[in-house]
Symmetry: C3
Amino acid sequence: MKKIEKLNLSNYGHDFLRTWDKSIDHLKATLAVAQTLRDWHRKGISPKVFTSGIAVSVFRDKSTRTKYSYAAAANLLGLEIEDLDEKKSQITHGETITETVNMLSFLTRTIGVRDDIFLGVGHNYMVDVANAADWGYKNGVLDQRPSVINLQCDEDHPTQSLSDMLHLINYFGGIEKLHNKKLTMSWAYSPSYGKPLSVPQGVIALMTRFGMDITLAYPKGYNLIPEIEAYAGREAKKGDGSFRITNDMGEAFKDADIVYPKSWAPYDVMKERTKLLKNQDDKGLDGLEHEALAQNAKHKDWTCTEKLMKQTHQGKALYMHCLPADISGVSCKEGEVDAGVFEAYKKQTYTQAGYKPFIIAAMILLTQFGEKTPNVLRSLEKRKQPIVLL
Amino acid sequence: MKKIEKLNLSNYGHDFLRTWDKSIDHLKATLAVAQTLRDWHRKGISPKVFTSGIAVSVFRDKSTRTKYSYAAAANLLGLEIEDLDEKKSQITHGETITETVNMLSFLTRTIGVRDDIFLGVGHNYMVDVANAADWGYKNGVLDQRPSVINLQCDEDHPTQSLSDMLHLINYFGGIEKLHNKKLTMSWAYSPSYGKPLSVPQGVIALMTRFGMDITLAYPKGYNLIPEIEAYAGREAKKGDGSFRITNDMGEAFKDADIVYPKSWAPYDVMKERTKLLKNQDDKGLDGLEHEALAQNAKHKDWTCTEKLMKQTHQGKALYMHCLPADISGVSCKEGEVDAGVFEAYKKQTYTQAGYKPFIIAAMILLTQFGEKTPNVLRSLEKRKQPIVLL
Amino acid sequence: MKKIEKLNLSNYGHDFLRTWDKSIDHLKATLAVAQTLRDWHRKGISPKVFTSGIAVSVFRDKSTRTKYSYAAAANLLGLEIEDLDEKKSQITHGETITETVNMLSFLTRTIGVRDDIFLGVGHNYMVDVANAADWGYKNGVLDQRPSVINLQCDEDHPTQSLSDMLHLINYFGGIEKLHNKKLTMSWAYSPSYGKPLSVPQGVIALMTRFGMDITLAYPKGYNLIPEIEAYAGREAKKGDGSFRITNDMGEAFKDADIVYPKSWAPYDVMKERTKLLKNQDDKGLDGLEHEALAQNAKHKDWTCTEKLMKQTHQGKALYMHCLPADISGVSCKEGEVDAGVFEAYKKQTYTQAGYKPFIIAAMILLTQFGEKTPNVLRSLEKRKQPIVLL
């Protein structure tokens, strides 16, 4: 709590769209508030701060864990989910974003959006949502400015990368312990295709800012959005961390403290796919899928084996995954990770996922209360309302 | 508050189905309670009156803003939405309405229903729902009588018309200011067909009772349900207001204080469509759609242009719409309203929509508490529970 | 309340999967807690014990009343529903049950599951869910162990059978009054096929343990799972009750105090159907349906007529049904029961259904608080929080 009070929370902003829109202090505050809420939950202390209010969710892609995490976070703070099902609404009717957002915000505190399918669309859509909320608030249509929370876009997946980071902080015993820890974010083979780039992008863009030594590994041609790779390089140089790209998985695992092997679609494939999807070119999409899967299949050796894990620092690197993983012999024939590796780290990956509701709740508190957040937490701590009333 | 206490709230009834089932005092109370809740929300005061309880919703047609408004109203008062998805339920199984309603009402305070597709069906269905709730309550199956709230039927759309009216009251500075204000409810061209009649019907049936001068304008053949047009005429004569029908949009806009240009399907088309829908006559429906769209296309000049707006009182009539509007050049090529007109009044139409959650909450309070409602409000005012607990 | 305190609640367990996993004291406690909550609801006293928390629901088959009852029970205690729509999630992605359950349990107090379509699947799935929750709790992934509640499986439907029993207790004036009451659970004709066996199985397995005289009647070949029939026979012998099977509906109704005529699919048909469903053998399924319906049609005389009701004890047996019933001339041409019989007992069957939310709430309390449940109830009774805050 004292740590939070020392951070500069001005200009935290009304939304949480990308970690690179936030200052280091903003990010530290998000992590610290999330940790506080996580600790309170274990002790049975409630941070319910809203008597009523709506948390709108807009999922333009499938989701289990993020959808749950958002709902659980909203409920923890006293908000109720209203899921916008774009098919059951009148939105196809040609309604503008400004209108939809305002119509869904009269009593709303937060709007969580997942829009990760189209490159160049997701983040822009969220900016539009935020601008629409601004317009409504400034014009007196809305009594409060709802926070827009990115639940995964084409560029970033901040609720994931910050959960990942909070897991590392807890695992290694403090944020300062992450300095010069070697994290390898590696592409891995999957029998599916078209997986978003936002997880690896989120990880390299965030972790390089905290002095970590980040290695990004992928087969030639599987690069991420170039601007984000460049950003990670620049951020690494600002501090005492580092960032490098390699096309050799084995070399990337050598001496790593943390490994994050995960599949994604190459940037060029995603660009092509976006074009075809926009044109509703089903035949073209089938062709692309066929081609991309064949391309992937050439890299079946990019998989996190027990042997590879032994090459890591003291053979004990922390294995991470955003889940669900493609586990060889379990969820698919050949996939991202050996069953033995996954099983050995199951408790860890599940714990990693468990931070997400608290990260989201922290984002809601900070976007709603800004600099007043420490005071809000102090009040809640003093109130000490139990989660189970006995 | 004092105004509410002076009104005669006896026989308010357990449901809100149509404004014409309510006395002037009932309607004034609904408006005044909604205004109170709206003011409290701005001040951050919570009217949460239920510790727990369910608000069932049944949407037999698409909805975004009314669905949200109902959910937000329920949440504001402490109720949780349980959406009845008739496809996922066993209702197709031949279950009676009495049974379904009772099964969904054991811990339920309100049942919101949208059923606006079939002429002669929606209102009757809601009456059946209300009777079923009565039966259950009288026979001790239910501990409380849930309120049935009309979220749009074939005849009326009271949560809309009362939001519209509350907007007018705020815009003009008091209910008494509405006397002899000239409101033009006009048909307007839309590239779609089959839009319900309930919005214009709701407006003319409600506003004529408050001394307004109502002009209903439509091309020949585009009349509403005749009985409701006749009702509006009779009600206008009772007071100092007026009601007239014209087939000339330009003439109808002349000197108007308020204009409400909106598309609807002619009564005869809706009757035919209802018959075809009941017979599941897809070919017939296609034919009717084709014919109706061709008919509509003859009236593309029925559109709210900037030029037309200049003909209104001092060129400054208030433009209204229940949203979403068909905006020429924005949501369609040619539609109900010019982009310039819509844009100029965007803040107003959004504000108009923003009353709906509070109108619905007022209906729930008044149907649940009847004559005790002013006492309930006094208690809540005294309690002064903040929406944000700090 | 005093009765509850005298019962042995140790080893109540974290889940409620089947009544035969529970001791007589566990069952009596479930009934007594449910009755207490039911009485409180009538008096307007709230048992809200959770400030926040999630109640996950997983419905793998259609549901109206159980879905509502689960939602209402959760809401009554302060929990919010998060419905897992397996189609909109990433679960088809090959994710393990352990993972899904943990991902949905971070802030979850209860997981309600309906899985009644496949013989040999439903109960086993729930055991897997419970084991997954155990794993997460023991490994510190979860702060609390969510309760798994069976909302109908292939073997048992405990929220139904216990609601049925609570209805009987209230109808006859006490649990001790059920001793040697003659209950006839009878197969009845329905124009549909494939109805689960869990309702009749649940009734015979539960009620034989409370000293009732149970007659199970069905046409030859329409038997239930043999092990459960055998269990009912053994349990009846332990006490002063009895259990017998007959193939004569008329004889079974003679002198009955209670009749429960309801359709189900023969065990052999369900076994065959399960096999075909697993193989996605649509042609085979069509054939089986055709055959089974033809078989059923030979037993149209197995229907609860007014004439048959006159053969019961003093012609006044209590008619029961889990609803919805196939009512001859109402929901189908020929079905399980005459319209006249159904109508005469409508108030009773609806009241019977009304216990379900309270049975579920009791299961949640007892699985969450175990031996501490009486203390929890004492606290809540003392607190006396009103459902309607005035």
